[in-house]
């Protein structure tokens, strides 16, 4: 079950994880318990996920993030919105992002 994602909301990277770039790969290392199911679980994002991740700075709403991505990549607004909401849903479920109240 995916977490509810609000396109008008602002999301920030959780302090419960450490995101590291190693040899061009973005590796997400859980810091606190309950993020990975297994004791040695690490996570990585694909190219799309990473492009979105880099814009999730805790300042922009998801709509703004999608707009910026639309200006940078050749994809339709609908496709981009679907990707942004899809990734944010996944990461919320894994407690890697949190909604920032404004």
């Amino acid at each position: 079950m995916k977490a509810k994602v609000d396109p008008d909301a602002i999301y920030a990277r959780s302090e419960d994880i450490v995101a590291r770039e190693i040899e061009g790969e973005l590796i997400i290392v859980p810091l606190v318990s309950g993020i990975g199911d297994m004791e040695d679980e690490l996570f990585t994002l694909n190219e799309t996920g990473r492009a979105i991740w880099e814009k999730l700075d805790g300042k922009k709403s998801l709509k703004d993030v999608a707009e910026e991505l639309f200006a940078e990549f050749e994809a339709s607004p609908g496709e981009i919105e679907t990707d942004v909401i899809g990734l944010v849903g996944e990461l919320l479920k894994r407690r890697m992002l949190l909604e920032v109240s404004v």
Binding site: I22, E25, T44, N46, T48, G86, R94
Partner: protein
């Protein structure tokens, strides 16, 4: 950009050795000996110094120096740091170092005797998990055997209390054994208990070919250690306990690694993608190799320089010792034998002297496996490929350093 469909994120539950494919970071994993001091006084130990030795404590790296090394390690791509010792929990700043390492995104393996595990520590490990199983050495399953090894009264109870605290908080750990005269009769009982630990997915490994004192500091202790070693026959008996598995592993191993090393000293992965920082800031190519010519002083340099400049030069070193050149360099059992520059250092204080004890064990195994006849010595066998083929049913294909590097990054003696 092609926008891909879900999933956007993927779990990685693979070990570092297979994580990076062809773009391995400069540093994959790092061992850090936080101290050489230990609260036990084990009869077989190559490193332990007294727990309250103020002079040793003074010489150890400071908290900030260790943090600086961890920071550089993370910047070089390191994913896993192993805190070992001595007993690493003797450091008063252990919690600070642990949290610091985890905040850098490092996974932590803690090597401990578990006697200093406290409720506060288990709460910390439960809240901020190490992401790798802790490794605990068990010296005996009974108080009498345990304390005959540790020579510290109360250590058995303290270790068991620590283990129960970890179980209670579900902090993952695995246990390892040490085969010593006081506990040799307990293997079955030990393994039966070990199998009840939720994170043990295989029987425990054992330490049995004990190294002499790593600082070459006590002839008396060395004599004791030599007396505690398994004989070559006992070693073969031990290996044959799980005969099928042993034969399968040996066939695979012989196919990949067995061949004469010639004059090259390093056929392992020492100093490639990893190494060990000792308690005083010396970066060693592996956890055992402390020969002064092979260690890099991190107080005068950095991990990157050691890994890109110093260790590659060390790895080019050639053997010069006449005995080594006559025997080890021509020995096709190199893959079965634990002889290496580190073992030579531990035994003789040199890099290239044959360790007779290891040679005897390798020969006994080779005879057991049918690779050698009773009176033969391996360095006189010219048709060694034929022997391997007869044993494995296949032609040997040497896979050398790449495989050895993976093993070296993930293994260390108990």
């Amino acid at each position: 950009m092609i926008m891909e469909k879900n999933p956007y994120s993927a779990k990685l539950r693979v070990d570092e050795a297979s994580l990076w494919k062809d773009k391995t970071p400069l540093l994959v994993a790092l061992d850090m000996e936080l101290t050489e001091r230990c609260n036990n006084n084990c009869i077989h130990c190559y490193i332990n110094l007294p727990a309250n030795d103020p002079k040793t404590r003074e010489r150890e790296l400071s908290t900030d120096e260790i943090k600086g090394i961890l920071q550089e390690a993370a910047s070089l791509g390191c994913l896993t740091v192993r805190f070992t010792g001595g007993e690493p929990l003797l450091r008063e700043d252990f919690e600070d170092l642990y949290v610091f390492a985890r905040t850098l995104g490092l996974r932590v393996i803690l090597f401990t005797n578990a006697t200093l595990i406290t409720p506060e520590l288990t709460r910390l490990f439960a809240r901020i998990p190490p992401l790798k199983s802790m490794e605990i050495t068990i010296y005996g399953i009974k108080e009498s055997s345990y304390e005959s090894v540790t020579r510290v009264s109360g250590s058995f109870e303290a270790a068991w209390r620590g283990i129960h605290l970890l179980l209670e908080k579900k902090v993952p750990f695995v246990v390892k054994g040490v085969l010593l005269p006081p506990n040799r009769g307990e293997m079955e009982e030990f393994e039966s208990w070990a199998s009840t630990i939720p994170w043990m997915d295989r029987p425990p490994s054992y330490s049995m070919f004990f190294d002499l004192r790593c600082r070459r500091d006590s002839q008396e202790k060395n004599r004791l250690i030599k007396r505690l070693r398994l004989s070559a026959e006992e070693a073969c008996e031990f290996f044959a306990r799980r005969l099928e598995e042993y034969l399968r592993e040996m066939r695979e191993f012989c196919l990949k690694f067995t061949r004469p090393p010639e004059e090259n000293l390093f056929s392992c992965g020492a100093g490639v993608g990893g190494g060990c920082v000792d308690a005083y800031g010396n970066f060693q190519p592996c956890i055992l190799l402390r020969h002064p010519d092979t260690v890099y002083d991190l107080k005068k340099g950095c991990l990157k320089d050691a890994l890109t400049t110093f260790f590659p030069k060390i790895r080019q070193m050639k053997a010069e010792g006449p005995d080594y050149l006559a025997r080890c360099a021509r020995c096709f059992l190199k893959g079965l034998c634990e002889q290496c520059p580190a073992r030579s250092w531990m035994e003789h204080g040199t890099l290239d002297t044959p360790v007779d004890y290891l040679c005897e064990i390798a020969h006994a195994q080779a005879r057991y496996l049918g690779l050698l006849e009773e009176e033969e010595v391996s360095w006189e066998i010219n048709d060694w490929r034929g022997r391997i083929t007869a044993f494995t049913g296949k032609e040997p294909i040497y896979q050398g350093r790449k495989q050895a590097t993976k093993r070296a990054a993930l293994e260390r003696p108990a």
